[in-house]
């Protein structure tokens, strides 16, 4: 059993390794890079500089560069703003943490509201209990339909 688990782990590591070594895809990179003039991703832009950047991507992919090398080369030309996703450290970390904090905060608020509403709602049995007089009248009316 242990051997099988170990084999599966090794196979997994090899699969991940081969995936990261795969050549970058131009379409994926165009969605991850920003046109410095129109400030949309390259795949959304046909500005002259965006077209030039797309050509640059194709040349560098054909030359065998990795995704990291291509992105680094573009950052060296256009600065860190050329990467669509914010950096994972420093001030850029806020862009990752704030939405997460907002979701957690919203979940807490919703949970608290649900708890409060649940407390306010009277027990089901009481809410459905009819006035005795009304209940007697309904019984009488229904009795008329009994065979």
């Amino acid at each position: 059993m242990i051997r099988i688990v170990l084999l599966a782990l090794v196979a997994g590591v090899v699969a991940v390794g081969s995936a990261s070594a795969a050549p970058p895809n131009a379409a994926d990179l165009e969605a991850e890079l920003v046109c410095p003039v129109c400030e949309t991703t390259l795949d959304q832009s046909n500005a002259p500089v965006a077209e030039r950047m797309k050509a640059f991507l194709r040349v560098r992919i054909a030359a065998g560069d990795s995704e990291r090398q291509i992105k680094d080369a573009l950052v060296a030309e256009f600065g860190p703003g050329v990467i669509a996703e914010p950096p994972g450290g420093g001030f850029g970390l806020l862009a990752w943490l704030l939405p997460l904090g907002a979701v957690v905060g919203a979940a807490v608020v919703v949970a608290l509201l649900i708890r409060r509403w649940a407390r306010r709602t009277p027990p089901t049995g009481e809410a459905e209990r009819l006035d005795p007089e009304l209940e007697r009248m309904v019984d009488e009316e229904l009795a008329r339909f009994d065979p």
Partner: protein, 186 residues
């Protein structure tokens, strides 16, 4: 207890809305350089924002304020900009003809590949100083709205005139040359 929690909630909500309103107002009225051209047009001569940028035509950096004492034509361009190609020979001629009078033309290449900018300079035989701002960080300070755009700066580092678009057409060129003459005044 419940009413106190509600009050706190309302306070937080009002605070958030107020904060958003302040941010909106600040973003609308923050000086993003757009006032520079308007102030120059009024004849106020606002100080040109200083920068230090990597040179494209030789090794090292160029600091704009190091050119004080000379009149400067700062031309913002990029190799992919079509009107910049039409304007380049005019700027080179301007530089060659007025260099001895104390005029410096500085080409500020932005949002461009260095290799493309150097190819452009070679193609148009540009000999005036060229600086590189790939991310375009300096453009906001000058209120640049497009490419090309030129700023005429006097000997004291103050903006005499801002010209959006290529300096072509008789009227624009006359105003441009008049601004240069003002900038060259001692």
């Amino acid at each position: 207890m419940a009413s106190r929690a509600r009050l706190v909630g309302q306070g937080v909500a009002i605070g958030l809305v107020a904060l958003l309103f302040i941010l909106l107002t600040w973003s609308l009225f923050a000086d993003d350089g757009g006032d520079l051209a308007a102030a120059a047009a009024r004849g106020d001569r606002p100080p040109a924002p200083d920068f230090t940028l990597e040179r494209l035509d030789e090794e090292g950096d160029l600091q704009l304020s190091s050119l004080q004492g000379k009149a400067v034509v700062l031309n913002v361009w990029a190799s992919w900009c079509i009107p910049c190609k039409d304007e380049a020979p005019f700027l080179e001629e301007l530089w060659r003809e007025n260099r001895s009078r104390g005029l410096v033309v500085v080409g500020l290449d932005a949002k461009d590949f260095r290799v493309d900018a150097k190819r452009f300079a070679k193609r148009f035989d540009l000999t005036f100083p060229l600086v590189y701002d790939g991310p375009g960080d300096t453009l906001g300070d000058f209120g640049v709205t497009g490419f090309p755009e030129s700023f005429v700066i006097d000997r004291e580092g103050r903006v005499v005139g801002a010209f959006a678009g290529a300096v072509d057409g008789e009227d624009v060129r006359e105003r441009f040359e008049a601004a240069i003459e003002q900038a060259l005044e001692p």
